[in-house]
Symmetry: C2
Subunit: 150 residues, 2 copies
Amino acid sequence: MTNMTDLERYLHRQIPLSAAMQVSVLEATGRSVTLGAPLEPNINHKSTIFGGSASAVAILAAWALLHVRLLEEGLASEIVIQSNRMDYDRPIGGAFTATSSLADPDAWPQFVNTLTRRKRARVEVQSVLTFEDAIAGRLSGRFVAFLRET
Amino acid sequence: MTNMTDLERYLHRQIPLSAAMQVSVLEATGRSVTLGAPLEPNINHKSTIFGGSASAVAILAAWALLHVRLLEEGLASEIVIQSNRMDYDRPIGGAFTATSSLADPDAWPQFVNTLTRRKRARVEVQSVLTFEDAIAGRLSGRFVAFLRET
């Protein structure tokens, strides 16, 4: 179990847009990270969540999961997004959450193995956006991790 | 030729995250919209542009192009993103731009026709991110426009 306050502080400090979007860490385990964000700083011309905010919070949740898991593995690394697909299933009219998980949890040991041997490895992470207990959007992202020289 | 100051003011007012990202309108014609954004408010833990910011500015450029073109057509409408694919080709280490264009300019008359008849229509828009004169990212987005009842 990760210290959620530490993770939130890390995100706000390292990625100031997460503070501007008022992103909070609602849950962070090895399996998933759930972030929350309110409507006001992320609103659009239709008084719903701006697609760019929805996408950015989904990316952040996915990135944070890899950050947390690699810390747990004791692997100092840098994680960069390579590509993503995002579906906006329905308008989000208020505070929403983004919950990330590995696209294929069984592929994790192989990912860690490759990262350790080759100093870089790719992994797929998904995030699901929820608004009023229903799925409102889905992100599928491909990330690459680089082992930091220590 | 659209009044760029008006468009910038509109974006900042309607989508406050665009102000937080310090997005500026660099060019806006019927063919394309170019937005710019600086590093500082969009920085990440690697001192490059946060993927969520890159994606959000690319979405905003695509959305703004449709906004401008539909205004020019005299069609009061609302434009919503349905899905997008984003490729992050290389790290962006400073101020960058996003330039949008229609994926298929020849499909525009059909789009306008459908929008007028059926009150809704879909269209594909692409955005290219540029940093130091090289392509740094590419977005391909699908949008749906709804004709506003007047």
